[in-house]
């Protein structure tokens, strides 16, 4: 697309859109172009003003009672039309379970590339956008750039900090669009039972893996977590194979970056390690001294978690007094 300009942000998860805006502003400034937020939904006037405070120079607002909740084809149709009419240079789309397929289909319609899950984005000295993403199951980071515009990127949650809102001016453009017919019908939605605090936000996480003999023994971790004001997580086998817990830490589960991550009875397969790599300090407790988790740990203890954890609880209580 010739004459493409502007960095665009869209996520059907409003909070994620705010997070992306901070990074998008930096990219737009680097390219000396405008920052645009696309807002789709119902009764969005207030949010539109807020997006301007969070850095958007212009808002394309598609406010329609029928678009109150995410519909794949309708949202895709809106973004596709906007992209054809206003020719963005870069489109940053929130990498959610709905957002990523949306980005992939948009890229297909526009016949352009798409780079998913970029947790790092920069403009290089040749004014190219460089995205970084984890690949090969966590074994590597790929640095990627684009051959054609618009550059479509998906951005995961919590990759970038939400910017500070400021009083500033922006342009609000309301648009009416024809709504594309849905191809699927949502027949039920059941909220997932999730813990009140999101594990991605925890500063201290203590996780268990296959070394945990039975579900009830999680109390050993709960007790240490209580002393540390931390949260308890687990590795994929406990959630998926044994179905003891609903969510896990790892590349396909939650990617975390706490100040302290304590891995108990977790062998440390690459996918798990990829999910904890950005932790400040990693502690590993494992019976098997050959376990790969020790390679990526700051502190390693070869031992039985059933002995170490109760002792750790006591030691921390004593020393933290």
């Amino acid at each position: 697309m010739s004459g493409s300009k502007g960095v665009w942000v869209f996520s059907e998860k409003y909070d994620l859109a705010l997070e992306i805006l901070g990074k998008a502003k930096e990219l737009a400034d680097g390219l000396q172009t405008e920052l645009v937020a696309v807002l789709i939904g119902s009764n969005m006037q207030e949010k539109a003003s807020e997006l301007i405070r969070y850095g958007a120079d212009r808002i394309y607002l598609i406010d329609n009672a029928e678009l109150g909740r995410f519909q794949a084809e309708a949202y895709l149709g809106v973004l596709h039309n906007l992209a054809l009419n206003y020719k963005p240079e870069i489109m940053l789309i929130g990498s959610t379970k709905n957002g990523k397929p949306l980005a992939a289909r948009l890229a297909t319609r526009l016949n352009v590339g798409c780079v998913p899950d970029c947790a790092k984005l920069d403009i290089d000295d040749r004014k190219r956008l460089i995205g970084e993403r984890i690949t090969y199951g966590g074994n590597a980071t790929a640095r990627v750039t684009f051959r054609m515009k618009p550059l479509i990127v998906t951005v995961p949650a919590r990759a970038f900090e939400k910017p500070e809102p400021k009083d500033r001016n922006g342009q609000l453009i309301r648009l009416n669009v024809k709504i594309e017919e849905p191809k699927t019908e949502v027949i039920a939605t059941k909220p997932l039972e999730t813990s009140n605090v999101r594990i991605e936000e925890a500063e201290i996480i203590i996780s268990c893996g296959r070394g945990l003999g039975k579900k009830e023994d999680k109390t050993l971790l709960d007790e240490v977590a209580m002393v540390l004001c931390g949260q308890v997580g687990c590795s994929r086998p406990l959630a998926e194979d044994r179905k003891w817990f609903s969510e896990w830490v790892g590349l396909s589960g939650h990617k975390v970056r706490p100040k302290l991550y304590i891995a108990c009875g977790i062998s440390g397969v690459i996918q798990h390690v990829a999910g904890i790599r950005d932790s400040k300090v990693i502690v590993a407790i494992n019976k098997d001294e050959q376990a790969p988790i020790f390679e990526v740990a700051d502190y390693g203890i070869v031992g039985n978690l059933y002995e170490i954890l109760p002792a750790l609880k006591e030691a921390l209580k004593r020393q933290l007094q």
Partner: protein, 262 residues
């Protein structure tokens, strides 16, 4: 149900991938390959649907610059009826757009189908883009991140696991479904099944057989580099006479790091 198509990627077995520590390059050429885990779940689901409904042909489609014969044999042993592979040296540097394009043309050439099953993402590149790109270019409904499927009449009902909810969706066939690893536990083929599979057909096509113009396969992104991350960990072993002593030392270290307590 007449035909289910399962898209199978031959992926690098990331758990056996080695890194050259001096350059941080991945030793991809020497790493073993296997059916991408998520795709195996998709195949397993296809077989279960066939077991339930009967009279269904399961075809797998693979796009690869290598022969990938062992991968296809494994799929046939698990229960696929026929394996198609688009095998061409021109496919070496394609990206998700090229893969989806080849899959699209291959599926059109296979003929009518009711359901396409894919893994939600691939074990190695982990992009999760091919399934939605394929649905888009075939102009059929897509249901992604699916952890449960049922076929009812001419429709598929699927449970999608989203960030904060489980959504039940319905689409008329033909439709595409991408599955998560929670959906099932793929079977391990018996010796008998492996022997039976050797009689099943593998169809090999080239890009030319599919009448795909070369430029449609041009990569739309450029990979500048792929490097293993630097690991700068202290790797301190904490030892002691007993658990209490070890725990004491660890607690002290954590407090000194300034990450616990005040």
């Amino acid at each position: 149900m007449k035909r289910i198509i399962v898209c199978l990627k031959q992926a690098v077995d990331v758990s056996q991938l080695k890194v050259d520590p001096s350059t941080r390059n991945l030793l991809i050429a020497s790493a073993p390959k296997k059916i991408s885990d998520f795709d195996k779940n998709a195949l397993e689901e296809a077989i279960r649907i066939k077991e339930k409904l009967g009279d269904t042909e399961i075809c797998t489609v693979t796009v690869s610059a290598d022969e990938a014969k062992t991968v296809l044999r494994e799929a046939l042993a698990m229960g696929a009826d026929k394996a198609y592979i688009v095998n061409d040296a021109n496919l070496k540097d394609i990206d998700t757009s090229g893969t989806a394009c080849v899959l699209t043309e291959a599926i059109k050439k296979i003929g009518d189908y009711n359901l396409i099953l894919c893994g939600e993402t691939s074990l190695d590149s982990f992009s999760g883009l091919v399934a939605p790109r394929l649905a888009e270019s075939l102009n059929i409904p897509q249901m992604t991140s699916v952890s449960k499927i049922s076929v009812e009449g001419d429709a598929v009902i699927a449970e999608r696991t989203l960030e904060d909810a489980v959504e039940t969706v319905k689409a008329k066939m033909p439709t595409l479904v991408s599955v998560t690893r929670e959906i099932n536990q793929p079977r391990i083929p018996s010796l008998m099944m492996i022997m039976k599979a050797s009689k099943k057909e593998i169809v090999t096509w080239s890009v030319a057989d599919l009448n795909i113009q070369r430029e449609r396969l041009d990569a739309k992104i450029d990979v500048i580099e792929v490097l293993a991350p630097k690991t700068e960990r202290k790797r301190v072993r904490i030892t002691g006479e007993n658990a209490a002593e070890i725990a004491d030392k660890l607690a002290k270290a954590l407090i000194q790091e300034g990450i616990v307590g005040r």
